[in-house]
């Protein structure tokens, strides 16, 4: 067991080091960009700004300190869980993010799950059925990959949400209906709102997973253990699922883990097409409103999620593969 502990230790150190670098970048970006952040608050025009107002604002946001003092304050606040105060929403940034996170998790989780099942299924089926099916399956996957997700979203809206009584086109729930959370009516309402964004994101992800499954299966197809399995008289389905796919799954785990992390912030476009109130749309709104505290907080959560997902996928990969258990 000690190698597992060491492995987790090494990963944890790498994780923390990367986290430190990224959080420092997050601190530096607004401060290294040309211009003073307070100027954005005043409309970006230095000539007309009253110097006294600029000074007050700089003092309020702690910008009158030296860069190193600001950096210490930044860490002090972060470690206390204080992400700052959102000017646009008049709420602590942490509260805003906490309100958005469940929707992003719901949308991202549903889509990633559907895309994984469909992608592995399609990839395995078309690879196993031979040449024509493989060409068709891969063609479909490449075609899906070429279509920008936000465009697919608009097309789905045009076809399934443009007539009265069809699917909702906006938001994650009907705002004027006060359903009790988790009641049947509420679940039905939320489910209906979820369909189109989830289908859009699933279509955006499924091509990649199909191509990956195909490539991974292609790698194991020439392996002698498949000939052995067939020679034992196992059914073709058992050969595919128990022998080929099981070994081909390993590289897939890492990539799907990566996608899971990207779901947190990568769905800004889809969330904005459907006005889905998740983290991605929040980030976009923060950009438009120049709400820098919210921007920094949002980016922080997204980067944390990506890092955590990467590390988890990497660990899982090593634990699943018996060949890697002995080394670091």
């Amino acid at each position: 067991m000690s190698h597992t502990i060491r492995l987790v230790g090494v990963r944890a150190v790498t994780f923390l080091a990367t986290l430190w670098v990224i959080l420092s970048i997050n601190f530096l970006i607004p401060r290294l960009m040309p211009g003073d952040p307070t100027l954005f608050l005043l409309g970006g025009d230095i000539e007309t700004a009253d110097p006294a107002v600029v000074e007050t604002l700089r003092a309020r946001y702690g910008l009158n300190h030296s860069l190193s003092t600001q950096y210490l304050l930044y860490w002090q606040n972060l470690l206390r869980g204080d992400l700052g105060y959102s000017l646009q929403r008049r709420q602590p940034v942490a509260d805003v993010i906490a309100g958005k996170l469940p929707w992003t998790l719901l949308l991202g989780g549903t889509s990633l799950f559907l895309a994984t099942v469909l992608g592995i299924g399609l990839g395995a089926w078309c690879t196993w059925r031979g040449r024509i099916f493989e060409t068709a399956g891969l063609g479909l996957a490449i075609g899906l990959n070429a279509m920008p997700a936000f465009w697919v979203g608009i097309l789905l809206l045009a076809n399934f949400a443009s007539r009265p009584g069809s699917l909702p086109s906006y938001g994650a729930y009907t705002p004027w209906k006060d359903f009790a959370p988790f009641s049947t009516d509420w679940l039905w309402d939320v489910g209906q709102h979820l369909i189109l964004p989830a289908v859009t994101l699933t279509l955006a992800l499924v091509g990649d997973i199909t191509l990956l499954t195909n490539a991974a299966l292609r790698d194991v197809i020439p392996e002698p253990y498949l000939i052995t399995a067939r020679g034992k008289g196992l059914r073709e389905r058992t050969v595919l699922f128990r022998h080929a796919l099981r070994n081909a799954m390993l590289p897939l785990v890492a990539r799907i883990g990566l996608m899971a992390g990207l779901m947190f912030g990568g769905s800004t476009l889809v969330e904005s097409v459907f006005s889905y109130p998740g983290l991605g749309l929040m980030l976009y709104d923060a950009v438009i409103a120049r709400d820098f505290a919210l921007l920094q907080g949002g980016l922080l959560v997204i980067v944390l999620a990506v890092l955590a997902a990467n590390t988890a996928a990497d660990l899982l990969y090593r634990l699943l593969d018996p060949r890697l258990r002995t080394g670091t």
Partner: protein, 264 residues
């Protein structure tokens, strides 16, 4: 075969971008008709919400997307290749530093960072190109690094070194032929993702507001709820199709013809 199809598609779009000002029937920035017109003999794809000709917008829109994506692709590939070579070839300290930089930068999610950066840099093409290049290089660097290490392990490198070949000679005569194909594929991938990022940012309204691109067209079409009427057929479908076809062309061009390695 697929490579040739890809080449034809990409060349067609390149011609479209080059010739757009002369073949476009109208000036896409001028009001040339009533707003929200259906397709007609005068306006093949109708007019948009302010009476600009959509077909002309579509033709001229190719320019921004192609220009941004190719420049970003070149920059990304150049930075990535240099970083990859430094990581493989540099002194131990430099190599370790560059590798750490690659490993850190590669996990930063691109789109959120680009969106956030757009808030600080303002909305110009130069800023967009620089930001996209700054966040896109780690992928190429990692691949070039790995490939360089593999090549350097070969005996012919040791042999070349033993007869007094300098690092630049080895890089030019042995390394470059080995990474050439890889760099080309990575360049096409970089162009692909840059085109997609540009379109996405313009769709969000964070691109260059003074120049029309396919993403900008989709932004206005969606902002004016084109999906509620039939207008999506001529306002939403064409720019998206152009973008998808261009991306498809790049993918086909970069895809190695794998019929030879078929094991079935």
């Amino acid at each position: 075969m697929t490579t040739r199809v890809g080449l034809v598609i990409v060349v067609c779009f390149a011609l479209m971008a080059l010739l757009a000002p002369s073949i476009a029937p109208y000036d896409p920035y001028e009001r040339v008709g009533k707003p929200f017109q259906r397709p007609s003999a005068l306006h093949w794809l109708g007019t948009n919400d302010v009476g600009h000709d959509i077909l002309s917008e579509l033709l001229v829109g190719a320019r921004v997307t192609l220009f941004v994506s190719v420049i970003v692709g070149l920059l990304t590939t150049a930075i990535g290749a240099v970083m990859g070579l430094l990581a493989a070839y540099g002194s131990p300290v430099l190599s370790a530093l560059v590798q750490a930089a690659i490993n850190t930068a590669i996990v930063i999610p691109r789109l959120p960072l680009v969106i956030v950066a757009a808030a600080y840099t303002g909305r110009g093409l130069t800023a967009l190109i620089l930001v996209l290049a700054a966040v896109s290089w780690p992928g190429i660097a990692r691949v070039v690094h790995a490939q360089t290490l593999t090549i350097c392990r070969h005996e012919y490198i040791t042999a070349a070194r033993s007869i007094g070949a300098g690092p630049f000679w080895i890089a030019r005569m042995h390394l470059w032929p080995g990474v050439r194909t890889l760099v080309w594929t990575q360049f096409l991938l970089a162009v692909n993702s840059a085109a997609l990022s540009e379109a996405g940012l313009s769709f969000l309204g964070l691109g260059d507001a003074t120049r029309k691109s396919w993403g900008t067209m989709l932004h206005y079409a969606h902002a004016r709820s084109a999906f509620l009427t039939n207008a999506w057929c001529w306002w939403v479908l064409p720019p998206g199709l152009c973008l998808a076809l261009f991306l498809l062309g790049l993918m086909l061009l970069g895809r190695p013809s794998d019929s030879r390695s078929n094991n079935h």
